[in-house]
């Protein structure tokens, strides 16, 4: 082996180590942000401290009830509720929602070979929103009924309609664009479908005013509706989506050389596109059904990963997932903490931060 050959090999290993280091760093950030997220809210860290005492750590509330004062037990129960029923699913939900968007973004950018592609392209997000609006309108969920405390059935129903809306929107976009061969036509069709379905959502909301508040939350994007069932749905959809995307990652690499070259390599382009569009719609629809419209996380996550490491799609997809989770959790923690006890809708925060990032990105690309 020549010295040059050896140095090429060490460089390759070093690049791979960088990707692993980024992954570990992001995992660490997830962990730290989760702990911080559990402590942020209108009552601050007090529920955490309450539970951290020996009696709190000691097991179920019923067993501590017998040994503790009634007032302490109520504190404990309240603390448990705040932490376990509200903050934990929200925090983990932000992580999961962000991960879904990050994955969808990386898939969209690879599939359309456009670094500015976004999971909300193809009208999938507007379709999902219309699905949610229709479901809410039919179920008659009013301001009195808390979405956060809604059960599995409602969650699955919302996710289902969001997914149906998302997939229908994507199919409509594909039909209008007459397939995915023509990227520009596809993006334009996506914009048209997005605008029309967005208008339909507004119409549905106008016709049933009792869903106005819930819909406003969805349109602004919030983790406030995420309970354990919602988290469960995101995990149940997210894991298979990631596995499928990873399994197709080498074909995404091949697609990056252009469709003709990819076809000459014997890749099944038609089936590949169908599978990737399904993953894209499923991940986006699921995220939107739980957290509403959260802008730019899907766009920014793969970009931030690429600016740190240059890799093939397999690490890129996994790292974009982690990066998306970290971004949304960070934004959510900020949104909850910055004006506590008041709360900003996290979608507004990501829109402002993400918009700025996109402008900077455009500026740098032009420069």
């Amino acid at each position: 082996m020549t010295p040059l050959s050896a140095s090429v090999r060490t460089d390759r290993l070093r690049q791979r180590r960088r990707a692993w280091a980024l992954g570990l760093g992001l995992l660490l950030a997830c962990l730290v942000l989760t702990v911080v997220g559990l402590g942020v809210g209108s009552t601050g860290w007090s529920p955490v401290w309450t539970l951290w005492t020996p009696s709190g750590l000691g097991g179920t509330p019923s067993s501590t009830l017998t040994g503790a004062l009634a007032a302490d037990a109520m504190d404990l129960e309240l603390g448990r509720q705040i932490l376990w029923d509200i903050r934990a699913p929200r925090t983990l939900g932000a992580l999961a929602g962000g991960a879904l968007l990050g994955l969808a973004g990386a898939v969209a950018q690879g599939l359309f070979r456009n670094p500015l592609a976004d999971p909300f392209l193809l009208g999938s997000a507007s379709g999902a929103t219309l699905g949610v609006a229709s479901a809410l309108s039919v179920m008659g969920l009013g301001p009195g009924v808390g979405l956060a405390t809604s059960g599995w059935a409602v969650r699955l129903g919302l996710t289902g309609t969001a997914f149906v809306g998302s997939v229908s929107a994507v199919l409509l976009t594909l039909a209008l664009a007459r397939g995915v061969q023509h990227t520009l036509r596809l993006l334009l069709a996506g914009v048209v479908v997005g605008v029309v379905l967005g208008a339909l959502s507004s119409l549905v909301t106008l016709l049933s005013p009792d869903i106005l508040q819930a819909m406003q939350g969805f349109m602004l994007g919030t983790t406030g509706f995420v309970g354990w069932p919602a988290l469960g749905v995101m995990a149940a959809v997210g894991v298979p989506c990631l596995v499928i995307a990873l399994a197709l990652s080498r074909m995404l690499d091949g697609l990056s050389l252009g469709e003709a070259t990819a076809a000459s390599l014997g890749l099944p382009l038609g089936a590949l596109r169908v599978a990737l569009v399904a993953v894209l719609a499923l991940a986006t629809g699921t995220a939107v059904a739980q957290t509403g419209l959260i802008a730019f996380v899907g766009l920014a996550a793969p970009h931030l990963v690429r600016s740190a490491v240059k890799t093939t799609h397999a690490p890129l997809l996994a790292l974009s997932c982690l990066m998306g989770g970290v971004l949304l959790l960070l934004a959510d923690t900020l949104a909850r903490g910055v004006m506590a006890p008041q709360e900003l809708p996290v979608g507004v925060l990501t829109a402002v931060l993400g918009g700025g990032y996109l402008l900077w990105l455009m500026h740098r690309r032009v420069g």
Binding site: R12, D253, L257, G258, A263, S264, L265, K310
Partner: protein, 271 residues
């Protein structure tokens, strides 16, 4: 040459094709037939818009066309895609559409040439790594194996894409303007590389707009307005006459130190 030379590696019979979509289709190729023996280098030349790249795409099965294309004696579309991909390698014009690969390193890009040899989900084998290193060394691109494609110059990028096409280790190589962006020393390297490939029994079909380079091939196919104007050995006087004709007699083909060179005929008195 051995008996292999009598085998036809790739051929087109009465191939016609159109470009554009929907109602805006316009015919580009009109019943083109050509047969390339194994171990032969064929250059496709012709004026702009003659249908050179379109013919190459038809030979690669990358563009719908009427007529038949045969690869190694079997209809192109009868091959299973991966089987076909192992035998037929394609290098697109100027790396068109490869912008998406800007973040991949030269090594990763070249490894994509091994996709037809790899089973789904299994990691690259030692043979794959060896083929990638060999291909990158063949195009003098090994030195920047770990550089992302987006950070390379046009010529360096072209050499990596060429290595990607070589890494397939196919019997037939189709190359569209492979010399684009290459400086003269690397054009010479490419010529030597193609000769070496052909000597080892591979078949090369290249589209070249540089007539002098095209004349280094074994055979020259002269296309004009989507039809075969002439096809013959590059050293044949008839081939030279055909070339001069399709280029409106604005070029002259001369012999210079064992090479055929095409020179522009400048109008007016020489000074």
């Amino acid at each position: 040459m051995t008996g292999m030379a009598t085998h036809i590696a790739i051929s087109a019979q009465q191939v016609s094709a159109s470009l554009g979509d929907g109602s805006h289709q316009h015919p580009v190729l009109h019943g083109v037939s050509v047969a390339v023996p194994a171990g032969c280098w064929l250059s496709i030349v012709g004026p702009n818009g003659a249908g050179k790249s379109t013919l190459l795409k038809c030979l690669g099965g990358l563009l719908p066309c009427t007529g038949t294309v045969q690869l190694l004696g079997q209809d192109l579309h009868a091959w299973a895609p991966r089987e076909r991909a192992r035998r037929l390698s394609w290098l697109g014009q100027g790396g068109a559409g490869s912008d998406g690969a800007d973040d991949l390193t030269a090594y990763d890009v070249t490894m994509l040439g091994r996709l037809p040899h790899q089973s789904w989900l299994s990691p690259p084998t030692d043979a794959d790594h060896a083929a990638v290193e060999h291909a990158l060394r063949q195009t003098q691109a090994w030195g920047w194996a770990n550089t992302p494609l987006g950070e390379l110059s046009g010529g360096e990028r072209q050499r990596v894409l060429l290595a990607r096409a070589l890494a397939v280790d196919a019997d037939v190589l189709l190359m569209d303007e492979p010399l684009a962006n290459l400086d003269p020393p690397h054009q010479v390297d490419w010529l030597l590389l193609v000769r070496q490939l052909v000597a080892s029994g591979k078949t090369v079909v290249s589209v070249l707009h540089e007539i002098t380079t095209a004349l280094a091939a074994d055979e020259v196919l002269v296309l004009h307005q989507g039809r075969v104007h002439h096809c013959g050995p590059s050293s044949d006087a008839a081939t030279h006459r055909a070339l001069e004709a399709v280029f409106e007699r604005r070029i002259g083909i001369h012999r210079l130190m064992d090479h055929w060179v095409a020179l522009p005929k400048l109008k007016g008195p020489t000074c």
